[in-house]
């Protein structure tokens, strides 16, 4: 009864869009480029919705065997290509796409928000050169992201992982003639690579200890009981199942996967690429660095939750990394003046929340926050893009102000987003953030500390978001841009849709959401049968209070008496400078890693290996050749007599050879038939005679 969902089309449509726009785009008219660029994600989205409806909506007809109403497609639903990818001894990897509840949610976010941002890009990038190139890269990104989400085994996911890194590099460095953009692209790719290295080690260890890379099979290993009954020769007997790898091994695997996730999702210490990635166009920041690519790390951890559940040490490290990152990034965001930098650090901070959620085994809460975050963060970036577009490219908030009258729709949508991210009910992030904080609190003694860090971060989040709001929209305009760019409809419509989603996205509630996800993510172990409603209420009130406190502080510093902010900064100059310069982390990394590496490259690899060793070998070979040539050249003297001499010597040599060691027919000195000598001599004579001419 299962119909085919054609999962393979979901990535292939964007890939086709990439090829068409990439190869032919420069020659096609702009409307056609836009059409191709939009139809691809739309097609993927339609297919995902179709899959969702097939899986969720139960068909009215009953099936005879199961005796009850069943969905037309059962999850997890897998599509595997008949030809295996790798079939090498014990290693067997397939091209398999799997849809289950988790990947369905991710896909809806990726393709849905992706489609909206594609629409936005039509307006935002409309005047840019390289329009077709932009859309082809966007479609390429979508292709790899869908492969990543749909992958049924770790290796195929890694393909998508690397691919989104590549697409990110291409898109960050989209304005490739700008040095800072090109450098940012390089930085993103290189830092991601460090994470990928950890990921790869994890994959190898996974293969070595489990023998398989398939998610379903790995999960099955954990749920398989150690003993099971086997029917042998008609009689049942107990058989010992394959032993699980030791906890230490699983912990190491999880830590390696965490390194990969930290690289992709910009956690400590590999977050440094994300703020620089803001050099790319704003739709790129919205799609890749807010909603989809950076959440791949969270998705990975949720996917491999079976492993993490069995390695509590790794899980704890995940939680701490997440919490620390959240706090750290929030503190930096407080002092940034570039609107996109603020949003970048905000993204890092919110990703920290998601990691924190996964670290306390509340995977559903983490994914819930992922979904709501996609809505409001994308909206924030799109609104920022609208502001930048209207200001003619200006990104410094100190030069903005009073935009609420000029950009009413942007103002309205961004206000909704700011309130959402601060966690005000009944907007989306309130539900997800609360679920995370509650789960952290009840997780044990360390959980209280994590909860507290989360709370402080919420305060800072509210503070810096409202600071952004005040500096940008309210007050008097601090600068007047030369041109008046009106925001096109293609930019406004996605923003409105996302605003609507931010409002109602959380209404499904964490209970129903985690119940929905439960088949793919096992229910948190420590979850009590019923949540402590009172505790939850108290924590919720605390969170809302903290958000209001943040708003109040921002109002005091930036709205009622704006100069107070500057006074505060002047009061603590060293502290302010430290925070404004991102704690000099980039400079520290540069000094510890980059400079020694470059020195090593230049001196050891450049001078010693390249010049001395390799150059020396090449010089030696050339020297041998020319030396031999010089010697042999003397042979070609043009002198007749020496030529004749060598000829005679050669003839003598041949004769000796023939006489002594010649034919197997038994020629020897005594038995030699003179006819041969006679023949050879005559040949020699003819040669010598010719030489005389």
């Amino acid at each position: 009864m299962t119909e085919s969902l054609h999962l393979w089309l979901i990535p292939i449509l964007p890939f086709a869009g990439f090829l068409l726009n990439g190869v032919l785009g420069a020659r096609l008219p702009k409307w056609l480029v836009s059409a191709i660029g939009l139809l691809a994600p739309l097609g993927s989205f339609v297919l995902v919705v179709n899959a969702a409806s097939a899986a969720l909506i139960t068909a009215p007809k009953t099936c005879a065997e199961c005796g009850s109403a069943a969905a037309s497609v059962a999850m997890p639903y897998a599509e595997t290509w008949s030809r295996p990818w790798i079939n090498l001894g014990t290693l067997h990897v397939d091209f398999s796409f799997v849809i289950d509840q988790l990947s369905l949610v991710m896909l809806l976010v990726v393709t849905g928000v992706g489609f909206l941002i594609h629409i936005y890009s039509v307006g935002y990038m409309g005047d840019e050169e390289g329009y077709a190139r932009f859309f082809s890269y966007l479609n390429l990104f979508l292709f790899f992201m869908t492969v990543l989400v749909l992958a049924g085994n770790v290796l195929l996911m890694f393909v998508g992982w690397e691919g989104v890194g590549l697409a990110s590099y291409l898109l960050i460095g989209f304005y490739f003639s700008k040095t800072s953009a090109a450098n940012a692209g390089k930085k993103a790719f290189i830092v991601n690579r460090i994470g990928d290295f950890g990921f790869l080690i994890g994959i190898f260890l996974l293969l070595a200890s489990f023998g398989t890379l398939d998610f379903a099979q790995i999960a099955a290993r954990f749920s398989a009981s150690p003993f099971h009954i086997v029917i042998q020769n008609g009689a049942p007997s107990l058989s010992h199942g394959p032993a699980l790898p030791s906890t230490a091994v699983i912990t190491v695997i999880c830590l390696c996967l965490l390194i990969g996730a930290a690289g992709k999702s910009a956690q400590l210490p590999l977050y440094v690429w994300l703020p620089d990635a803001m050099e790319g166009p704003t739709p790129v920041s919205a799609l890749i660095h807010a909603a989809t690519m950076v959440t791949a790390g969270v998705y990975l951890i949720a996917r491999t939750h079976a492993l993490f559940d069995h390695a509590p040490v790794a899980l704890a490290i995940v939680a701490f990394v997440g919490a620390a990152t959240a706090l750290f990034a929030a503190t930096i965001a407080v002092a940034q003046n570039d609107i996109k930098r603020v949003l970048a650090y905000s993204t890092i901070s919110q990703l920290g929340y998601m990691f924190l959620a996964c670290g306390v085994a509340a995977y559903a809460a983490g994914i819930f926050h992922l979904v709501t975050h996609a809505f409001f963060k994308a909206l924030l970036f799109l609104a920022a893009g609208s502001i930048i577009h209207a200001m003619g490219g200006e990104q410094d908030m100190r030069k903005m102000g009073g935009l609420r009258n000029r950009l009413p729709v942007t103002f309205a949508t961004m206000t909704i987003a700011v309130f959402t991210i601060s966690g005000f009910p009944p907007l989306a992030a309130f539900y997800s953030k609360d679920a995370i904080l509650y789960a952290a609190f009840v997780h044990g003694p360390a959980g209280k500390l994590l909860w507290f860090v989360g709370l402080v971060t919420a305060l800072l989040t509210a503070f810096y978001m409202f600071r952004l709001w005040y500096m940008t929209f309210l007050g008097e305009p601090r600068s007047k841009p030369e041109h008046h760019h009106s925001t096109p409809l293609s930019m406004l419509v996605p923003m409105v849709i996302l605003a609507a989603l931010s409002v109602c996205g959380g209404w499904i509630g964490i209970e129903r959401f985690s119940a929905f996800l439960a088949p793919s993510i096992s229910a948190p172990r420590a979850r009590a049968a019923s949540t402590d409603v009172q505790l939850e209420l108290v924590l919720t009130l605390l969170a809302v209070t903290v958000a209001l406190l943040g708003w109040f502080l921002a109002h005091r510093l930036y709205s009622s008496k704006p100069e107070r902010a500057a006074q505060l900064a002047a009061g603590y100059p060293a502290g302010y400078k430290l925070v404004a310069n991102k704690f000099y982390i980039d400079e520290i990394y540069d000094a510890i890693f980059v400079k020694p590496l470059m020195a090593f490259s230049k001196y050891i690899l450049g001078w010693v290996v390249d010049t001395a060793i390799l150059g020396g070998i090449a010089w030696l070979l050339a020297g041998i050749a020319s030396f031999t040539g010089a010697i042999l050249q003397r042979w070609q003297s043009g002198n007749l007599r020496s030529y004749a001499a060598w000829l005679a010597a050669g003839a003598a040599a041949i004769l000796i050879f023939v006489l002594l060691w010649g034919s197997p027919h038994g020629w020897s000195l005594t038995l030699l038939h003179p006819q041969t000598v006679y023949k050879v001599t005559h040949i020699t004579t003819l040669h010598l005679g010719q030489a005389g001419h």
């Binding site: 007599r641 020496s642 004749a644 010597a649 000195l669 003179p674």
Partner: protein
């Protein structure tokens, strides 16, 4: 008789050859070579090749060596000068020649299949031959079996004449044909 004649004329051959090497003026070398050729003609007679003996005298001694002498006179080649020469010629060439001679000598002297030449006897003639002279035998084979090579040889000589005329013509040299 045979032995004496052989030793005598072989001696003349060797003497002429060695003299060719020792003389400095090419005309002397040419004359020594004539001596060699004539002695060889006698040796051919001893071996029963009468026609060849005559041909040797007529062609080699009578035409080729005369040509050499003419060229020596034409070019006014004087005594050889002492030039630096070629080290390879002496260092590589002489051992080669010695080796060559040694091998040939060894092979010749140690091979057991050779007999001796009897003076006066000619080549065995087939029974169907008209008369058994060496010339008849030779010409029978030459004009029956080997007629084509014979005719080709005449073409070859024609070409050689043309070539010699073209090369030695005055005005030929630096690549510019005059007329």
């Amino acid at each position: 008789m045979h032995l004496i004649l052989f030793l005598l004329f072989a001696g003349f051959c060797l003497a002429g050859a060695i003299n060719l090497l020792l003389q400095t003026h090419p005309i002397n070398s040419a004359l020594s070579l004539i001596v060699v050729m004539t002695s060889l003609a006698v040796l051919y007679l001893l071996l029963g090749a009468e026609f060849l003996a005559a041909a040797q005298i007529i062609v080699y001694a009578g035409a080729v060596m005369v040509l050499f002498t003419f060229v020596v006179m034409l070019l006014n080649a004087g005594r050889e000068e002492r030039t630096l020469g070629s080290r390879a010629a002496s260092r590589v060439g002489f051992p080669a020649v010695v080796a060559l001679l040694a091998m040939l000598a060894t092979v010749v002297l140690r091979s057991s299949g050779l007999g001796a030449a009897h003076l006066g006897a000619g080549l065995a003639t087939p029974a169907s031959a008209v008369d058994s002279s060496n010339l008849t035998l030779l010409s029978t084979v030459l004009f029956h079996e080997l007629l084509l090579p014979f005719e080709v040889t005449s073409v070859l000589i024609l070409i050689a004449i043309l070539g010699a005329v073209a090369l030695a013509r005055a005005g030929h040299g630096e690549g510019a044909p005059t007329k």
